[in-house]
Structures are given as C-alpha cells and as structure tokens.
C-alpha cells in the first residue's frame, strides 16, 4: 500500500484548503480539509481500504460518491455517540471525528475471516439454505454465533444516546425530491406561481451532478447556473430547502418521510442543544421526483478490488476534493459519459487510458479524449484485475457482445479503475408508492411510466440524460404541478436558456465481461458488492430453477439489505437475462422497499423517549400517592396506586394491611379512573336496554344498577354501575380501561344503527375525581365530612345516589360496593379532588382510615366473587359462562349480543364456566393463568380443561383463593382438580362456589 500523498496540488470545489481538519480512522491520526468527506480525506492520505465484505471478507474500497456507496460502511463517534453503518462518502469531516472500519477482525489489513474467500466454493448462492442445516442443535450453539461474529455489520452504540431527536409535520403544494439541475429548475418553476414548494436534497451542497456535467447554460457552466437557482429558492418566501435531507420513503396519497441530518456534521451545533436528526413527515399535493441516476458498475473478474470505483466517483474525487484516485488509471466504459472522467483525470495530471466495450462510437467527448492524446481501446474489456489489497494492473481482451470466455489478453499496469456501465434512474421512491416503470432500450434500464398518485419524474430520474431536455421537462413539470394545485396560477414567461452540450453515441449493454478461467476459480464477478453476490451465484440460481426474479433475490440475497439494489439491481437482471435468454422487461424487477437509505432509530423515536415514551395519565390525587410511597401499576395509560409500601413493608404485607383495614375499619381508594359517561335524551332508557344485557328502563330515578355489556358475538366486553339521574338522564360507569372504547361504542350504535334515537352521549370521565370510602366505618367518615343530606341507611340505602355537598365540596355520592363492605363512592370536580382526598384522610384518621390500592381492591372483590372484565373474561366469555345468567334479560326482544347467545356453539355442555377454587394446601397460591388438566402426565402435552383467572392470598380468610374458568365447571362442584405448575409440581384445588365471603351480601347493606 502506497502512502504517497494523493492530494492534488490544486482543484477541489468543495474543500477549503485554509482549514485543516484532524480526525482518526481506525485509530490512525489523519488530516483533511474542511469540506472533505471521510472518504475523500482517507483517499487523500493514500489509503484505499475501507472495510471487508460481508460474506468473503474481501478487502474493499469506495465505489460510489454518495448514498449509493455499498462497501465503505464505517462507524463514527465514540461510546454512546457511536453510529454504525454510515457511508464514508456521506460522512462530512469535522475536527475530532473518530471513524472505524467494520466487519474485520482483528484488523483491516489482516482479517481472519478472509479465509472464507479461499473456501468460497462452499459458500455458493443460497449458502444459508444449503449449509448449517444439520445437526439441528448446531444451529443455535455453533453456526449462528459464528455467523453473527464474522458476518455482522457495525456495532451498536454503548449506553444511552445523549443527543436529542425530533419529528415535524409539513404540508406543501409541491415537494421536489433532489436538488440537482432538474429539481432546482422544477422547484423554481413551481414556486414562481406562489405555490408552497419544499425541496429536499441528501447532500450538503445543492447542484447535484451539475459540477460533473459537460455543457453550458447561457454561457455559464451547469453548476453555476444551478447555484443561482438554489440561491433564489433559499431567498423565496414560499419555498423551503432542506439539505443533508434524504427522502427515505413514499407512501399512499403522497405521504413522504425526509430524514434530515441536522447536526451530524457539526459537533458545536449538537453541543448547543440542536437535534442530531429530524424526521419530516410530509404531505404533498404534488411530488416531483428529481432523484437523478446512479451509475452502474461492470461485472469483470475481481471487480471489487480497492481502487476500482464508478467513473462518477473518480470525477468527484478530482473535481470536488482535489484528490487523485491513483497515479495511473483506466477508464472502463460502455458509454460516452465516462470520457468526461478521463478528461478530468488527464487535466489533473493523472495518466489514464480508456477501455470501451463498444466496437465503435463517435461522440464529441470521444473525439476530445483522443485529441488530448489519451489512448482509447474500442471493442475491448477488462477481463481480469491483478492485485489483492489493491489494483496493480489489468488484463484487457478484445470483446464482442455474446462471446464466451476470453482466450488472448494483454496486461496493462495501473493502480485504479474508473468504470461505467451506464446509468440507472433512481426509481426507488417512484416505486415505493406503486409507480409503474418501463424498460428503456437507450438507457438499458427502467424509467418511470404511470403513477396513480400526483407524481412526476424529471431529469435523469426520468431517464433524460441531456441538459437541454432536462431543463425543458423540469420547467414544464414545475408549472404543471403548480397548475394542478392552483388551476388559475399565472407564470412569468419562461425564456428557454441557450444550452450547449456534447453529442453522445449510444451505450451498448455490458452485463458481464468474460474472463479466461471459470468464475469460481478466484475470478469473482461481483454484481451486489454489499451482499457479496456474483454473476456465478445468479447463474447458479437460474440453473437451480429460481425462475422468478423475486425468488432469485431471496435465494442469492442480491439487491437486499441497506443497499436496496442501488447499484446492483439492473446489472443482476442483465445477468439473469443473458442466462435465461429472456429480455429484462420479461424478467421484471424486484420490489423496492422503504427506506431508500437507512435512517436512525433516534429519528423514528423523536422526542418520544424516556418520560415521553408513552402518554401517562395521572389522577388529581396522583402526587399524594407518590408522596405516600405507592407503587404503581399501569391500567391502560393510567398509573394507579397498586399498594402503599411507603412505610418499609413488603408488598404482601401492605396489601394484607389494606384489605384488613377495609374489612374491619375503613379504607380509601382513588377510583377516579373509572369511565363516566352522561347519557341523556327521550330515548336514553330504551337505548340502554339495547346496550346492556339487563334492563335499565325500569330503574328508578336516584337508583344505581350494575350492568353487563356484550359485543354482537355474545361475549362480555365491559361492566359497571349506571345511575338514573332523571327520567331521561343517566350516568354510566365503565371500567377504567373501557372509558373511551365504550363512549365510542355508544356513538357508533346511535349513529349507524338506531339513528332514530334522540340520545346525546357526553364522556365526562376526567371532570370528576372519584374516591371509594369502604368499610364498616365508611358512614362514620362520611358523617364527619359534614354532608348536607341524610346519609342514614334508610334515607340513603345501598345502590342509590345523592347529589349535594360534603362541607364546601360539591359531590355526587354513589352508595355502591365493589368490596362487599358498606361503601360510598364520592365524586367531586377534578380540581377539588386533591383537596377532598386530603379532607377524607384527615377526618378518617381517628377512625383508622387507610388508603388502599388496586391489588387490595382486586382481592376484596375476589373474596366476594365479583368478576373483572378482562380477568375472568378473555373476549370469548359469555355472561352465562361467568354465572351471570340472571343479568341477561329474557324479556327484551333485542339487545346487543342477544341473538348470538342462542347460536349453538355458545350453548354446548363443554363451555368453560366460572368457579371458585380452594387449594388443598391453604397457604399455597395458584399461579395466575395456571392450567387445570384432565389427566396429569410426566410431561406436556396434557389435555387442558380450564385455567385460573384470578388468584390471591386472602388475609380475610387467612388462606388462598382463586377463580377459574373450568369446562362444565358448575357441574363439578366439590371435585378436586390438578394444576401442573413450573418445577414439575402439581397443585391440587377443590372446586367451590366463587363467592368466598359474606355469601348473603349482608355487609354492604347495613
């Protein structure tokens, strides 16, 4: 490896030679200039090696000039800021940048995995499917770890990402994708009408390939013309230009995402608190694709050696960065465009020859090349490359299309190759959203055809390769897009610029340059560099019968992974075409999927990390629970106090204490999360009769009733207590998790089925803080709160409702009980919730009041055999299954789910029914979800006859209790069932009535 300085004495439009930048690559300190990419700066240092290939660990250098780069994937940054798999050609250099190569061990120049290359005959196409198949146990313990260590791409960062990320939405009239000549021209044309134009380009500099394009516009070079337009757009009131911003995906109805790298290139900006990346979610009325074209490599033997690159990349090195790709190069082409590269190299003082596969061609550029004294070999191909860590020379052979292997060759010494197999329009985004494409014989590639959304393509993305036609069609597309949005838009008259450009001879397809030996004898003709797929692999797949190109893709892995076939797709199709004798359009293309190029997880998460990861809902008394040391459990998005362990108890102790307080003294529960819905109208009662399984039209004003809801399938979906506030006015309670769902459910039936009903439904869950005061001393607590209404048992019996005041607090009080104790649920406007909670705790202190959490609540209700929808039901459970037949009306002609309960499959004798369980060993608590089996066997499978739905230790009964859904359970009363649990253990439990405590329901009714 030569360490000669490769930085040219002059030139380099992107770099600032006055600003030196210090960085390291694989720990080695290097310097470059401001404006360099990591790729150009490393190349300038004389090094060409950037990584090892995925499968064979072959040494690789850069091939491309931007996002199409498939070899030079590097990791940038340290520790938590490390980001793997970035393309060295897109990494902008800054002072202090640390980059490392990937997929090599122990070092880039000596890599143990390269042995794979020697054994490559054992790694043919489809090797994943052929090898590592047996013995089965080897996969998990031997093959997979081995493959993962040797084949992995970059390393994940260590630690939590210290940077911030965000997302933003934007709507525009016209989105222009790509800031080259075509995109800028179209954007300017559209903006001239006043349309809101958004333009996104993935590079730091606008102008696209303008600087590498021959010709002039109004006497200026193409790039200068483009920069003038760019400046106008940046200055316009109705345009927005995004640089370093890749449009990564295009979805239905012109929804697109743009990945903006805000701070990657500028550590100072990041340090100031700017986001590292920003993800734009764009809805565009019109989209103009000016995504350009990507140059094709050529498949010749060992075409992956470091120093072999696309002609456009060689030009970019010289023109943009003042970097020589080598001292003595060969341009290998099948088209005229690469002659520009030859001229550029010559001008920079680099020795260069041209090898052209076409028998003859006579464009202006070829003439100029010859007149500059550059040797041009027509009708020739590179048949092989010499050198392993780099290029030392090539073998050149005479060529005509369709010939077999090469017989005679001549050797030419060189140290780099610039290749061009033509250009593929970048169709990825066009295709993401279902755009159709057609094959173009002139390009030997696909170009856009029809699109069902409002999308147009212009310039090289549309297969238009010359400047004059590009400017013309971009102008028309820009105006057409604006006109589609504003039909009356007026445009300033467009004066076609005067454009001069060279004439070009047609290209000739070259999918494969033959060599002397067989492909797999050290002669690898790479098609997909990133996935190490060769011509031989594709041909093998054809011989093995993978006729569909989608199958060939999956079998060989060509066109997959981060590269998404940017450089390999059409070349692969060309090889398949020659192997099968079918034309490329007959073969068809594989599917392009988003993203166009990878984007960061940070940008996908945006600000929704840490505390914002999930919306969390807090009740008005939430802070009290926190201060009291509650542990919380999520109920939907709510955080509910689970138990109050603040005084150092363990959880079971605090749960038991809370339960016993409710059974013997009094407890206070924050029940604010319960769903609350006001339902009012002349048809409200009849409507509720349709919604609930039981009847509400008979409920008296001021009274409460427990109701069950089914869906149309006859399965339980929610339950709760509903109060009749007035003849035409109800207040419904739903489960905490069901509040929004049930409100929507009521609206749906009112709007779509019983549209004749006059009923309004207004959810009021959050208007109220609601607390349950439960226990034998509940009324004493209430009395101390100075109610302005009679709270005696006679005046305010169980299942009734009062509205009034407790002291100064306006309240709604429901005498309902989910614990089986005397109980009052007190609701007050939410902003008074904390105050009332404090007041209740205050007056309750001398009565021994204890706050209790959701776990105590659950044990209390289980002791009473009350179901919880979602615990005792699983979405396939009917009211009859849980023993609530009494709540299913026999009289009402129709209610939701009624007809389904009569379907034969819900009536069979083998339905699982709710029962209580008492374990033989009183202290043993069955695991929640444990299965009851018909016969216990040594090992699974065992026939299951039901499962535990709730299981607790009951401090009230001083033993464990459980509920379960058991096949034909009610007929099995008294039977003992076996529950095999973890650790080869079997717990035995007797089926009993599910009401364990106060079967007569006396306690709540005093």
């Amino acid at each position: 490896m030569s360490n000669k300085p490769y930085r040219l004495a002059q030139g380099g439009s992107h770099i600032d030679r006055t600003q030196r930048v210090h960085f390291t690559f694989d720990g080695k300190p290097l310097t470059g200039f401001a404006g360099d990419t990591l790729a150009s700066a490393v190349m300038a240092s004389g090094s060409r090696l950037f990584g090892r290939s995925f499968k064979y660990h072959r040494p690789r250098g850069i091939v491309g000039l931007g996002s199409e780069e498939m070899n030079a994937l590097v990791g940038v940054g340290d520790g938590a800021r490390h980001e793997p798999n970035l393309r060295a050609t897109q990494v902008e250099l800054f002072d202090g940048l640390h980059a490392v190569s990937q997929n090599r061990w122990p070092s880039l120049t000596f890599d143990v995995g390269a042995i794979n290359s020697r054994f490559s005959r054992f790694l043919p196409g489809g090797f994943y499917y052929k090898t590592f198949m047996w013995p089965q146990s080897f996969w998990k313990h031997v093959y997979e770890p081995l493959i993962r260590r040797s084949a992995g791409l970059g390393k994940a960062p260590e630690g939590r990402d210290p940077d911030s990320y965000e997302q933003i939405h934007v709507h525009c009239d016209v989105l222009v994708v790509g800031g080259g000549l075509a995109g800028l021209t179209a954007a300017k044309a559209a903006a001239a009408s006043g349309a809101k134009v958004l333009l996104a380009d993935e590079n730091p500099e606008l102008g696209g390939m303008g600087d590498l394009t021959a010709g002039s516009i109004n006497g200026a070079c193409v790039i200068d013309h483009a920069k003038v337009i760019a400046a106008e757009l940046l200055d316009a009131d109705n345009a927005h230009v995004l640089r370093r911003s890749t449009v990564v995906g295009h979805w239905h109805h012109n929804y697109l995402m743009i990945f903006e790298r805000v701070g990657d290139h500028d550590p100072a900006l990041l340090a100031s608190g700017a986001p590292r990346h920003r993800l734009w979610k764009v809805r565009a009325k019109q989209v103009i694709m000016a995504t350009g074209a990507i140059e094709r490599p050529i498949a010749f033997a060992n075409n992956d050696r470091p120093g072999i690159m696309l002609a456009s990349a060689a030009s970019a090195l010289v023109e943009r960065y003042g970097v020589a790709p080598g001292v003595n190069g060969i341009v290998f082409t099948n088209n005229d465009n690469a002659y520009l590269t030859a001229l550029s190299l010559k001008k920079a003082g680099i020795t260069v020859r041209v090898v052209d596969s076409r028998a003859r061609a006579d464009g202006t550029l070829i003439e100029r090349t010859k007149s500059e004294g550059i040797e041009v070999s027509m009708g020739s191909v590179i048949s092989a490359v010499e050198g392993s860590m780099g290029v030392t020379g090539v073998r050149v052979a005479a060529y005509r299309r369709g010939q077999g292997r090469v017989i005679t060759e001549r050797k030419i010494a060189c140290d780099f190759i610039a290749m061009s197999g033509g250009f593929n329009p970048a169709l990825h985004l066009w295709c993401h959203n279902g755009g159709k494409i057609k094959f173009d014989d002139g390009l030997q590639s696909f170009r856009p055809d029809q699109h069902h959304d409002a999308v147009m393509a212009v310039g090289a993305a549309n297969g238009t390769m010359d400047v004059a036609a590009t400017v013309g069609e971009a102008q028309m597309a820009g105006e057409a897009a604006a006109k589609a949005v504003f039909p009356k838009a007026r445009f300033p008259k467009f004066k076609s610029p005067e454009i001069k450009e060279p004439s070009r001879a047609p290209l000739e397809p070259l999918w494969f340059a033959p060599a002397t030996g067989k492909y797999n004898e050290g002669n690898k003709h790479f098609i997909d560099f990133q996935n190490d797929v060769t011509v031989a692999d594709l041909e093998l797949a054809q011989r093995e019968g993978y006729e569909s190109v989608e199958h060939t893709k999956r079998y060989t892995t060509f066109g997959m992974a981060t590269d998404q076939g940017k450089t390999s797709n059409i070349n692969g199709l060309g090889v398949v075409s020659e192997a099968t004798g079918k034309s490329i359009p007959e073969i068809g293309v594989t599917t392009f999927r988003p993203p166009y190029s990878p984007f960061s997880f940070g940008s996908i998460a945006g600000v929704l990390t840490k505390d914002l990861f999930l919306p969390v809902r807090c009740t008005p008394a939430y802070q009290w629970h926190v201060d009291r040391g509650a542990t919380f459990e999520p109920v939907g998005q709510w955080r509910r106090a689970y138990t109050y362990t603040g005084n150092g108890e363990d959880r079971q102790a605090s749960i038991n204490r809370e339960i016993l307080a409710v059974r013997h003294k009094v407890g206070l529960l924050d029940a604010s999360t319960l769903g609350k819905i006001e339902i009012k109208g002349p048809d409200a009662a009849e409507f509720l009769d349709r919604i609930y399984t039981n009847t509400f039209s008979t409920l008296k004003v001021g009274k409460c009733r427990y109701g069950l809801m089914m869906n149309e399938l006859g399965f339980l979906t929610d339950d709760g207590v509903t109060v009749r506030l007035a003849e035409d006015h109800f207040l419904m309670h739903t489960t905490s998790g069901g509040a929004d769902r049930i409100a929507a459910w009521l609206e749906e039936w009112l709007q779509t089925e019983w549209t004749q009903y006059k009923v309004f439904v207004t959810p009021v869950t959050e208007q109220w803080a609601q607390f349950a005061i439960a226990g034998p001393r509940a009324r004493n607590v209430l009395a101390k709160l100075a109610p302005d209404f009679d709270i005696s048992h006679e005046a305010f019996p169980h299942m009734s409702f009062r509205e009034g005041k407790l002291g100064a607090y306006p309240v709604r009080v429901f005498r309902i009980s989910f614990s089986g104790e005397q109980s009052y649920e007190v609701a007050t406007p939410a902003n008074l919730g904390r105050g009332l909670w404090d007041a209740i705790m205050d007056v309750g202190q001398e009565l021994g009041i204890e706050p209790y959490g959701t776990e105590a609540l659950h044990v209390l209700r289980a002791e009473k055999g009350f179901i919880v929808v979602g615990d005792e039901t699983d979405g396939t459970t009917t009211p009859i299954d849980v023993g609530l037949d009494g709540l299913v009306s026999k009289k009402k002609p129709d209610f939701i789910g009624k007809r389904s309960l009569e379907q034969s499959y819900l009536k069979g004798p083998y339905r699982k029914q709710l029962v209580g369980l008492l374990t033989e060993e009183a202290s043993e608590v069955l695991p929640d979800g444990a299965y009851a089996v018909r016969v216990v066997k040594d090992k699974p499978p065992m026939e299951m006859i039901g499962q535990v739905t709730s299981s607790y230790y009951s401090p009230t009964l001083e033993r464990s209790i459980a509920m379960a859904l058991i096949e034909n359970g009610r007929a099995r009363m008294g039977e003992t069932l076996s529950f095999p649990v973890e650790g080869n253990k079997v717990i035995r439990a007797k089926i009993v009535d599910p009401v364990f405590y106060d079967k007569e329901g006396v306690r709540q009714n005093v």
């Binding site: 940046l234 700017a274 939410a830 919730g833």
Partner: protein
Amino acid sequence: MSDVYHETPLSHCAPPQGLSIDLREIKDRGMIDLRGFASDKTFLAAAKKILGMDLPRVPRTSASWGDVKALWLSIDQWLILCAKSKVAELVVALENELGDRHSLVVDVSDMRAVIRLEGEGVREILLKGSSLDLLSNDYKSGTVRRMRFAEIAALLHVVEDQVFDIYVFRSYANYAWDFLLATARIPTRVKLFGKQI
C-alpha cells in the same frame, strides 16, 4: 371543611425556561359542554337567548359575546367558555331555557387542562406534534380543531395569529406539558417557508 382546596392540573409546574415561545397554563377557564341539534331552531334560539350570540354552525369556527365564547366541536356539540365563576349560573340558565328540548348541558370545567402558547414560531412547534396543515389559511384566528396531538386527543383554538390554546384531557396535562417543553427548546427552532440563510 369550610373552604375547598383548588388545584389545577399544571399548578405544580414552574414557569419554563429556555423556550422560543411563552408557555403557561390558563387556570381560571370555565367550560360547558353543550349538545343539541343544529337543525333544531328552538334549541338554537334558546342557546342564543342565554349566551347572547348565535352558536357557530360552520365547522371549526368560534363565536364570542362579551367574555363568553362558543367553540364548534361537532354538528351537535359546542364548548362554551366563560369565567370559572360564571359556570354554575350559566349551566342553570341554559338548562332552564332549554327545558325539555333535546339537549345536554354539562359543566366540564375540570375535565381539561388549558395550555396557552404564544410567540413567533408557535405553529412550527405545534407541527412537531400535529399532522394538520397549521401553516395554511385554514388555521386563522378563531379556528377550532379537535385533533391528535403528540399521540393524545387535544383541542386546538387559534386565539390570534401567534397565540394558541391547547386543551388536553386533565390526566394528560403533564405529558402534553413535557412534550411542549421538549419541542419548544430554542435550539430546536424551525422556521418553515421563508428566507433561509
């Protein structure tokens, strides 16, 4: 127990620092949810008699009379805004006037947290949580829109060109507040469509 202790959802939040806009909780807003059919002339007349103005019937608009505002929520639903101290009186007046016409009046003053955002660039900040086209003419002063904001349900009221009120359900107040603190930081400022450097 002679007096109540009153606490708004964001009363514990300190005045924010380092933001590119002003952000604060509006603590004294009374809110009434009013339901009735816009096609029912007697309903509209009764509402007008009490509120002093026609209920807005054009979707996503608002109307005001004195310090009372009516925000359109749906074709049969409005949110009436007034001073908190006036709510009880207004609810009773509406209920009395509406009588047994099909309608529903509910005091929902405590149901939502109200966050006021004010300053240049406020629309761009909201675009970090909303997919609506907030830069368009559809969102001029007086516009009301229920929407999905930062993954939760919210109500947007364009008070003035650069003054917005966001209403979120009370339990989400902290989440919405924290989301705004994260997206309104000065270094994350975005200016959309206009002269760029």
